[in-house]
């Protein structure tokens, strides 16, 4: 029987390959995800650990809590006098100080060189030849006073040459420095979109406004001194607000945020891999069922010759197993290609990731193979069980068909039950209060899987009417071929439903994503329109979201024509034991913002004073705050202050620029040494005019990382970031659509094969090859449209549920996009039909007629 099963696979090469493709793609997504994230992880780790490779202990400023990158707050720096004391310690062989921060290089076009959200790292290089310096000189010299070294990839991308002058913007206005050298970072071939600029210490201290200050001291111990001893010695001389860690520990600390980002990215991408595999399992199950139905007589003959049911079961499962193994192996390696593709995809949307070559971990191999094989086996179970129910007598009966499943009559109730259970799971995940994130995910994931299964089973009932309706245009366009296509698609509702269901899943998710995105956009738009009352321009970073140095808005304030500038500072602080986002505003904001005050009045914005604060309604509720309640804040530099609530506002659905707690800019600046603005809003005499715009642009020339935008432009800028994320989501979901496309191809090929004699007859009585192709194509399109119709509808339902729960998104149906999805699914149908239609049209009429 084993040999028989294997021979069966070989005998049905085409079918086996087509079925296997679905698994290959699913497994490829999983292995590709692992390869991608492992590679990024690897590259980041090399960066973080190589940076510290020369040092044993690192001394740094100590913040009161873990800071989030890009939050606008950095760890406090410390007095450079500490360096001498550290160097004087007996077991210290060498020690160097460093300052660092964000520093943008200014490109030839006068704009800051920023690649997406990647950091622009600026730092001092104490001595080029020092063991602490992880950089290698590619050409030129290490930087001296008023000089800068630039990383090779930025230099080549932006045509930066040795000896030229280049603008550098850190905390103040742009400064011109001479490019003294081009450097590269150790072994990592690309550090992603990050830019590097190195200065000598005094220049760096000036750029980062840290005169006489240091951010870090790298220490190397004398030969033979254990790190712990060195650490203890150093800790003896540390003043308050500083800390010492072994360089390993410091590297781990440095990489924490990246690690959590990568782990998020991994889970996120695996989610899409899961979807592709889930869709793949539908395709496999469907293909196997069709194949098994077509082999009814073969199974019956085997039974007649004495094969037991168990043997039949084994032979079918064995076939699936062999196919699963081969497909998973292929998928594993296809994943390497996919990882490459994903790197380019992320790069294409301006999200360049560091790359150090592809990493294939053992875990990737194990998981990919296991998942692929398991999914295939599970998908083969139902068809295999059906095969065992073929009675021996079917061998001698004309047109033997598979017996109906014993459970056939329970199908409708079962489908309804599954769907109901699924929705119950979704609703529980969404609305049951006080669930942990894990529980919510479990309920929602389980619910979604059940809903998809349930709807797939239910759709058997919908195929008839849907095919009738959606096939109507086919009958008008395709004549007899169209009518036959419509009849064919209704002929085996089970098969059409399974085929369409695979596409349904992908389209439901695409629809869900597009509705959520439309909701986010429209609620964001609404929020900006609500809050942004009469400011004329907003000043933001070029990338629209990183904080910008206050120097920019100070310059803007002095620009002719500017009436008032309102600055929104952004940072982090501890309140009630939790790290929260905080913001600062200054009195002019009262003239420009419109907030919905549930307690207090609009005057609050202008009268926060030294110790006033306002909070949003939800935060007030969760901490039981009302006017006059104290809010204790601990800042990164370990200073503490008690603020009093002066107002509570209700943010619009789309959110607000404010953190949980907002204080006055002056209070903010007391605790944050180098404050940064998230946005500055500008009121100008004469409003939005070309002259005013030109005046702002002139000022901002000195701050190339800042730009001015009108309200409409501001909204568009903020939304553009969302659309790149959206594009990534669509591409990832497209993978599962491709899997379902293979499903349609597979079904059509099997169907053509099954209807060989019928097609022969049609050709004999006058159907041209074109008409045959058209018939198959229309059937394919009808199947795809059925999947699209159910999928889009289900996507809408899921989106409505989700939005009902999430309070920062309003429901807004992107009709245009939904129409595009429907049209796209027509194309999926057309593409899927190309190969099967050609095969059908090429059938030799005579052979087809004699075919049994």
């Amino acid at each position: 029987m084993t040999a028989f099963a294997l021979r069966g696979l070989l005998g049905r090469k085409l079918r086996t390959v087509l079925t296997a493709l679905a698994i290959v793609l699913g497994v490829a997504t999983v292995s590709g995800t692992y390869v991608l994230t492992d590679s990024i992880n690897n590259a980041f780790h090399s960066i973080f650990f190589e940076t510290r490779a020369g040092s044993d202990v690192v001394v740094s400023g100590k913040s009161a809590f873990d800071l989030t990158g890009d939050s606008g707050v950095t760890a406090p720096s410390f007095d450079e006098g500490l360096l001498q004391r550290v160097r004087a310690l007996p077991d210290v062989a060498e020690a160097d100080g460093q300052v660092n921060g964000q520093a943008q290089l200014i490109g030839k076009d006068g704009k800051a060189i920023v690649y997406g959200g990647a950091p622009n790292l600026g730092f001092s290089i104490a001595r080029g030849e020092s063991r602490f310096n992880p950089l290698q000189l590619v050409s030129g010299n290490w930087p001296g006073m008023n000089e800068v070294v630039v990383d090779k990839s930025t230099a080549s991308k932006e045509d930066i040459e040795l000896g030229q002058q280049i603008g550098v913007q850190a905390l103040g206005p742009v400064q011109r420095l001479r490019v003294s050298g081009i450097v590269k970072f150790g072994s990592v071939s690309t550090i992603g979109g990050a830019t590097l600029s190195g200065f000598d210490l005094p220049t760096a201290q000036r750029l980062f406004k840290k005169r006489g200050q240091l951010d870090e001291i790298a220490v190397a111990g004398a030969r033979g001194v254990p790190d712990s001893k060195l650490l203890a010695e150093i800790e003896g001389v540390l003043p308050a607000g500083t800390q010492a860690r072994s360089s390993q520990a410091q590297s781990r600390e440095d990489s924490k945020e990246t690690d959590s980002f990568i782990s998020f990215l991994q889970k996120f991408l695996l989610g899409f891999g899961g979807v592709a595999l889930f869709v793949g399992s539908f395709v496999i199950a469907n293909s196997l069922s069709i194949t098994i139905a077509q082999r009814t007589r073969e199974f019956a003959t085997l039974r007649m010759l004495g094969a037991s049911r168990a043997q039949i079961l084994r032979s079918v499962v064995l076939e699936a197993l062999v196919m699963g193994i081969l497909a998973s192996l292929l998928g594993l390696f296809a994943g390497l290609l996919l990882a490459k593709g994903l790197f380019s995809l992320f790069e294409a949307v301006g999200f360049t990731l560091p790359n150090n070559g592809l990493t294939l971990e053992t875990r990737t191999i194990v998981v990919a193979l296991l998942v692929g094989i398991l999914v295939t086996l599970l998908a083969s179970l139902r068809p295999a069980l059906r095969a065992t129910r073929v009675p021996p007598i079917a061998a001698v009966r004309e047109g033997g068909t598979l017996p109906e499943s014993r459970f056939a009559r329970y199908r409708l109730p079962a489908a309804l039950l599954l769907t109901a259970l699924g929705f119950a799971g979704l609703l529980a995940g969404l609305f049951v209060p006080d669930l942990g994130t894990g529980q919510i995910l479990l309920y929602m994931l389980g619910g979604a899987v059940l809903v998809f299964f349930g709807v797939a089973l239910l759709s058997v009932r919908l195929v008839g009417p849907l095919a009738w309706t959606l096939g109507w245009p086919a009958t008008k366009m395709g004549g007899a071929a169209g009518e036959l296509a419509r009849d064919n698609s209704r002929r085996n509702p089970q098969r059409t439903a399974s085929t369409a269901s695979a596409l349904m899943i992908g389209l439901a998710l695409v629809t869900l994503v597009s509705i959520l995105a439309a909701g986010i956009v429209s609620s964001f738009r609404g929020a900006v329109k609500d809050i942004w009352k009469n400011a004329d321009y907003a000043i933001t970073a070029q990338n629209n979201f990183t904080p910008i140095p206050v120097a920019a808005s100070e310059g803007v304030a002095k620009t002719p024509g500017v009436d008032a500038v309102a600055n929104v500072r952004a940072g982090e602080a501890l309140a009630f034991g939790n790290k929260i986002a905080i913001t600062g505003v200054d009195p002019p904001s009262q003239r420009m913002f419109n907030l919905d005050w549930t307690e207090g009045s609009p005057a609050v914005l202008g009268s926060l004073g030294d110790d006033g604060a306002f909070v949003d309604e939800a935060y007030a509720k969760s901490h039981d705050l009302s006017i006059g309640s104290p809010v204790p804040l601990t800042f990164a530099n370990n200073t503490k202050e008690l603020f009093n609530v002066k107002g509570i506002f209700d943010p619009p659905t789309g959110g607000s620029p404010f953190g949980r707690v907002t204080v006055s800019d002056s209070a903010f600046d007391r605790h944050v040494p180098e404050p940064q603005n998230l946005y500055s809003f500008v009121l100008m005499k004469g409003g939005q005019t070309e002259a005013n715009e030109a005046a702002l642009d002139r000022t901002l020339k000195a701050f190339p990382n800042a730009k001015a935008a009108t309200r409409q432009k501001f909204i568009d800028n903020q939304i553009s970031g969302l659309s790149s994320i959206l594009n990534i989501l669509y591409v990832l979901l497209a993978l599962s659509v491709v899997v379902s496309l293979f499903g349609i191809v597979n079904t059509l090929v099997l169907t053509v094969f099954e209807r060989t004699r019928e097609i022969g007859m049609l050709r004999a009585i006058g159907m041209t090859r074109r008409q045959v192709r058209r018939m198959i194509r229309h059937e394919s399109v009808i199947t795809a449209l059925i999947g699209a119709a159910i999928g889009i509808l289900l996507g809408i339902v899921l989106a409505v549920l989700l939005i009902a729960r999430v309070d920062f998104i309003v429901l807004s149906l992107p009709f245009g996009q939904l129409v595009i999805f429907a049209i796209a699914s027509i194309f999926v149908g057309i593409i899927a039909a190309i190969f099967p239609a050609r095969r059908a049209a090429r059938l030799n009429v005579l052979e087809a007629l004699q075919y049994e």
Binding site: A480, R763, A764
Partner: protein, 262 residues
């Protein structure tokens, strides 16, 4: 023996059954070779024949005699190695697949052993299928009349699965007649039916010729089926070895036995 038979055929008196009427299908010197070299098989070795309008021709012969090949070539489903087939004045040898298909649409009807109906269409839809494919509107009166003729008026809305074998073959005959083709090819039309039903189907075919002036070429190995024919062509080893007119079933059996078919 073959020579003897063809001599007998040529010494027959001139036929009375419409050979004065126009020739609708003509075949000259057809040969058909399958394969090449040592393994080549000659299915036809030089067959010429004319089919006249309104004639019911039966082609008989033992299995492997080439009768199916002959029919396939006459119907334009297969191409001869040499020789030419002309249907309604059009030579088939130079037609493209599409032109050939269109010629089949217009001039040829088929009746198959296994009916070959579309399971999702009802009887009437199956009958008008050739017209639908050709993009023509069926004439309602004609279709009604046709369904009446083939005895399916009461079952026009039944699906094939709801019809008996005989009824299914009636649908197939209706389908062959619907576009009033120049010629109908019937391939073992009773091969899959019991004897009572076979009789009904043969009677229907005969009536199509006599009453609707159809022309039919029928391949069969059943003497009883061939007995309704105006003329019977006996094929053996790729050649027409005998042509006879208005034979009785008994005479046909004898002739076949002489050909060595049991």
């Amino acid at each position: 023996m073959g020579e003897h038979m063809s001599e007998t055929a040529t010494t027959q008196p001139p036929p009375q059954t419409g050979e004065d009427r126009p020739v609708v299908v003509a075949a000259s010197a057809l040969t058909r070779r399958y394969g090449e070299g040592d393994t080549a098989v000659d299915a036809l070795r030089g067959v010429s024949l004319d089919v006249h309008r309104g004639q019911l021709t039966a082609v008989m012969g033992p299995s492997g005699s080439g009768k199916s090949t002959l029919m396939h070539i006459l119907a334009g489903l297969d191409r001869p190695t040499t020789g030419e087939v002309t249907i309604a004045g059009t030579g088939l040898s130079h037609l493209s697949d599409t032109d050939l298909t269109k010629l089949r649409r217009k001039h040829i009807g088929f009746v198959f052993q296994f009916f070959n109906l579309l399971p999702m269409l009802n009887a009437e839809e199956n009958v008008v299928l050739p017209l639908s494919i050709a993009g023509e509107k069926p004439d309602k009166a004609w279709v009604d009349n046709l369904l009446e003729q083939v005895g399916l008026s009461q079952r026009r809305h039944h699906k094939p699965s709801e019809l008996s074998g005989g009824q299914q073959q009636r649908v197939a005959i209706g389908r062959a007649l619907v576009n009033r083709p120049t010629i109908i090819f019937a391939d073992e039309p009773t091969g899959n039916l019991d004897s009572r039903t076979s009789g009904e189907i043969l009677e229907l075919l005969e009536r199509s010729v006599r009453e609707l002036d159809q022309t039919i070429v029928m391949v069969t190995h059943e003497a009883r089926a061939a007995a309704i024919a105006d003329r019977v062509l006996f094929l053996d080893d790729g050649l027409i070895v005998r042509e006879a007119h208005d034979l009785s079933a008994r005479e046909i059996v004898t002739a076949m036995e002489e050909l060595g078919d049991t």
